[in-house]
């Protein structure tokens, strides 16, 4: 049963949530950037901002994630897990980012489940806004992660001009709505139909571009992408690791104890599979010595059938951030297209 809320009542809802925990939304900084940051009052949320370049994975998988406090005590040590159980609400996220976090959660739920990650994700409720007008570089329709979602969300809003349609998709979503029961009403049939029409229109915005993932996936999964193609494409990659930073589904990391003089913090540090030393062994042997090996690895992890079968989803949410960030234009759509055509820049 869908609900609705008048737009002018939304800030009241957010005020209730602010009493329960942190509320995070895209905000425009004084320097003109759009970032996910904490808001202090319910009226602070601007709903018409471009999707921030940095995905919200920072709130479940920080760049530098303190895990364990270690203190030396004479001959012995004291170790204690660092718990982050803050309750948070992420507001005005987009469908792609909802799917991104759902993907990361699946990774960290897999045995053995990682308590540090799950403490954060279990305490994070996402109130997302479906995209009636898809963003210019996005291709979420190809990865089943937008522009509207039919699952994986806590609360999905649809902008109906004077009101929002509310779809609740989880227990966390129910709890968030229950906090401000008086502000919601049952959605009318018209409103529900309007939402469906908006979804159809949004899908059409993507045009007739066929999604190349299927054929790319076939070739990647059966080793039928010629080595020379990876070599050519890797000449365009600058190994900056930018793709790993901004990708909602990238989660590779290293574990290091940072500190000195008997006091350390064991941290998870996000890492990049594109860096030369990612697979470098203590003996000096490196199974992926060339850039082309690492590029091939990245796209195998994201697009292969083997991973799709394991994870239940392709490792891409079509958010288009890599298109914006990649210095060499070796981003997901370009590489997938090159694999389908069998050529690069020819």
């Amino acid at each position: 049963m869908a609900l609705a809320i008048e737009k002018k009542a939304v800030s009241g809802w957010l005020e209730r949530l602010l009493k329960l925990g942190e509320v995070i939304a895209p905000t425009r900084t004084p320097t003109g950037d759009v970032l996910f940051s904490n808001i202090r009052s319910g009226s602070d949320v601007a709903w018409n901002l471009p999707n921030p370049l940095h995905p919200p994975k920072e709130f479940v998988l920080p760049q530098t994630d303190p895990l364990v406090q270690i203190k030396r005590n004479g001959q012995h040590h004291e170790v204690e897990a660092i718990h982050d159980g803050r309750r948070r609400f992420l507001v005005n996220a987009r469908s792609c980012d909802v799917k991104g976090i759902a993907f990361l959660t699946r990774m960290h739920e897999m045995e053995p489940a990682d308590a540090s990650y799950l403490r954060r994700s279990n305490n994070l409720t996402i109130i997302s806004l479906a995209c009636a007008t898809p963003c210019p570089s996005g291709f979420c329709i190809c990865t089943d992660s937008g522009p509207f979602l039919s699952d994986s969300y806590d609360v999905q809003l649809t902008d109906l001009d004077k009101s929002y349609l509310i779809e609740v998709g989880s227990a966390k979503g129910e709890a968030a709505v229950a906090e401000a029961q008086g502000l919601f009403r049952k959605a009318s049939e018209d409103e529900v139909s309007q939402r469906k029409r908006l979804e159809e229109t949004a899908k059409h915005h993507f045009g007739n571009e066929t999604c190349h993932f299927a054929s790319a996936m076939r070739r990647i999964s059966t080793g039928r992408v010629p080595d020379i193609l990876w070599e050519k494409m890797s000449d365009w990659c600058l190994e900056c690791g930018g793709c790993n930073v901004i990708c909602p589904t990238c989660y590779c990391f290293s574990v290091k104890d940072l500190g000195r003089d008997g006091v350390w913090v064991r941290c998870r540090l996000r890492d990049s599979c594109q860096y030369a030393a990612f697979t470098l062994e203590a003996s000096g042997h490196n199974p992926r010595p060339e850039k082309k090996d690492r590029m091939k690895r990245r796209f195998f992890h994201k697009v292969s059938a083997q991973y799709y079968t394991r994870d239940g989803a392709v490792g891409c949410v079509g958010c288009g951030r890599c298109v914006q960030v990649c210095l060499g234009a070796t981003h997901m759509p370009a590489v997938v297209a090159a694999i389908r055509k069998g050529s690069w820049h020819e």
């Binding site: 320097t31 003109g32 950037d33 530098t64 303190p66 000449d235 365009w236 600058l238 190994e239 900056c240 290293s254 290091k256 940072l258 500190g259 000195r260 913090v265 941290c267 540090l269 996000r270 890492d271 990049s272 860096y275 030369a276 030393a277 990612f278 470098l280 000096g284 210095l327 060499g328 234009a329 820049h345």
Partner: protein
């Protein structure tokens, strides 16, 4: 988590660095430096290409006004000075005449490189964009790099021979009836020696592309070879841009590829022994007058020692945010020189090797914890805003330097980094009004205005005797790769994920290595790891070989970080002819 960060002022006592209060540390620094001055002993100051403009400016003010000396420099200047001098010779200023954003819309790019993707990925990204849009990329270098592979034309050039290539291109331009060749080359026998490296067709093609293009980008980093050669190379390169009409045309120009975030800023705030803020000449009386009025004191008129000389000649030294041994070409000699100083005070955020032997160590904020500005190679002034607090008692560098200036009667009072920037605007003409412009700007900062159009000076036709370095006895060319060693820079060195690659390479080759082409390796019958002996007129050294498939026969390259292992062979030069044998 702050393992390698400096948190507290330290003074050296009984061979150990002990924590003290800020007052105690600053007092000690003032007392010791004043003692040296009173005894007539020379003192010096080193700024840094990784310090902010505010820090460098105050370091320079401290030296000139506080200590009364022009013994002032920054380590990276040793590397980039000849390049900038060459550009300045033609344009009247070493400033870039090309913006990074122009590169992407260039139709032709002439690139001298070591490995642009490695040294300047942002610029490389723009080059790739241009190539994707159909631009002709011409690369001049000794390696088959990424850029070389996507280039329309790769002119494989032995290190140090870039000058010859530019000459051939200029000659080709002349052949096309445009402009005039700037130099002619004669060898020792006095004959015109147009050694055809590539066949004149390639050069003609390149010349045609360059002269027909509306927008052409000329990119040049510090090259190999002794100072004079580098200077002439840069001058000839800039002259080529000039004679093909690309120096004063929008969207075209020359971009000197400087490494490190604030090399240009360090030049323009003039932590340089023979310059004044604005990078004005020391003997420019108008500039000197302006500064003496601004600072209220007469300034020393004679040039000081440059960075490498001053390190080895002074008794007292102030080092701001740098580790000279890892940046200067003299490498280990710099470390030895630092160890002989009577008194050294270091301001830094990181426990670098230099910091560890300081008599006084003053902890300052990193770039993420301070307000300040830096100027990139294209002249874009960008603002730093503190994102977090510095650890412990570390303070913003500009504040610490202002305090030191105050103790030497050399400061105005500064309430903020913006106050310092405003003063920079009064001291350096290019920075006039920069503070207001930045206050309104976003992250992309503000571009320095192109300097007033100066009359271009094409270097007169010269005969340059060049002796081919190679001989029958020494048929190989050993060159020091001038590319900046990021592995030694604190931001990489202290990052567990970013440093892994560098650390493992240094662990695997603790005695360094020399890069050798596959063909040469086959001839010598050596594999990677096998030691080889290199002998030049200067001396000999034995190092392991590392076989590469992107080098040409006869070319041997030593990465900058390993220069100490071949210093006997190279001497004071960075290219020399050698004999190579299995050790």
């Amino acid at each position: 988590m702050w393992g390698d960060r400096l948190r507290q002022p330290l003074l050296q006592r009984n061979g150990k660095q002990e924590p003290v209060s800020w007052d105690e540390a600053l007092d000690c620094v003032a007392v010791r430096l004043k003692q040296l001055l009173a005894a007539g002993k020379p003192v010096g100051v080193l700024g840094s290409a990784r310090a902010t403009n505010e820090e460098n400016y105050l370091a320079g003010k401290f030296a000139r006004v506080g200590l009364g000396t022009n013994n002032l420099g920054f380590s990276y200047y040793s590397i980039c000075a000849p390049l900038l001098a060459g550009v300045e010779e033609v344009c009247g200023t070493p400033a870039a005449t090309l913006r990074l954003n122009d590169i992407a819309s260039s139709q032709v790019i002439l690139l001298i490189e070591g490995d642009l993707a490695e040294t300047h990925p942002r610029a490389a990204g723009s080059v790739l964009q241009a190539v994707e849009n159909g631009a002709h990329l011409i690369t001049i270098g000794c390696r088959e790099t990424q850029m070389a592979r996507v280039a329309s034309l790769h002119l494989q050039t032995a290190p140090g021979d870039e000058y010859e290539v530019i000459h051939e291109l200029s000659a080709a331009v002349a052949d096309l009836g445009q402009g005039r060749p700037s130099v002619s080359i004669r060898n020792d026998a006095g004959q015109q020696d147009l050694e055809q490296h590539f066949g004149s067709l390639a050069c003609l093609q390149a010349a045609e592309w360059i002269t027909r293009a509306e927008r052409a980008a000329f990119l040049i980093p510090p090259t190999c070879g002794e100072e004079n050669r580098q200077w002439k190379t840069a001058a000839a390169f800039t002259a080529l841009a000039a004679i093909t009409g690309h120096l004063n045309r929008p969207g075209s120009g020359v971009l000197p590829l400087l490494a490190r975030s604030n090399a240009r800023g360090a030049c323009e705030t003039a932590v340089v022994h023979n310059r004044l803020p604005g990078f004005e000449r020391l003997d420019d009386s108008r500039s000197r007058q302006r500064l003496e009025d601004l600072w209220g004191k007469k300034l020393p008129s004679a040039p000081g020692w440059d960075a490498e000389m001053l390190l080895q000649s002074v008794s007292g030294l102030v080092v701001v945010a740098d580790d000279p041994p890892s940046v200067m070409p003299i490498g280990q000699k710099a470390m030895t020189a630092l160890g002989r100083l009577e008194f050294m005070v270091v301001l830094d955020a990181f426990a670098t090797p230099t910091a560890r032997i300081a008599h006084a160590l003053l902890p300052i904020s990193s770039f993420a914890e301070t307000e300040g500005t830096f100027t990139n190679m294209e002249g874009r002034v960008q603002k730093l805003r503190p994102a977090t607090n510095a650890p412990g008692e570390a303070r913003p560098g500009w504040q610490v330097l202002a305090e030191l200036c105050a103790r030497f009667d050399a400061a105005a009072s500064y309430d903020s980094a913006a106050d310092v920037l405003r003063e920079i605007g009064q001291a350096a003409p290019q920075y006039v009004g920069i503070e207001q412009r930045l206050a309104k700007a976003g992250w992309s900062g503000a571009l320095l205005e192109d300097s007033a159009k100066q009359k271009l000076r094409i270097p007169p036709a010269e005969t340059i005797a060049f002796a081919s370095l190679r001989s029958a006895e020494r048929p190989h060319l050993l060159a020091l790769d001038p590319a900046f060693d990021w592995g030694s820079d604190p931001l990489v060195f202290f990052s567990p994920t970013l440093s892994r690659d560098f650390r493992s390479q240094r662990k695997a080759f603790p005695n360094g290595f020399v890069e050798i082409a596959q063909e040469d390796a086959d001839e010598l019958q050596v594999r990677s790891g096998r030691r080889v002996r290199l002998t030049s007129v200067q001396g000999a050294a034995t190092v392991p070989a590392l076989v590469r498939d992107d080098l040409n026969h006869g070319q041997l390259i030593v990465p900058f970080v390993f220069r100490d292992h071949v210093s006997n062979v190279l001497g004071s030069d960075s290219v020399t002819a050698v004999r190579i044998e299995r050790a």
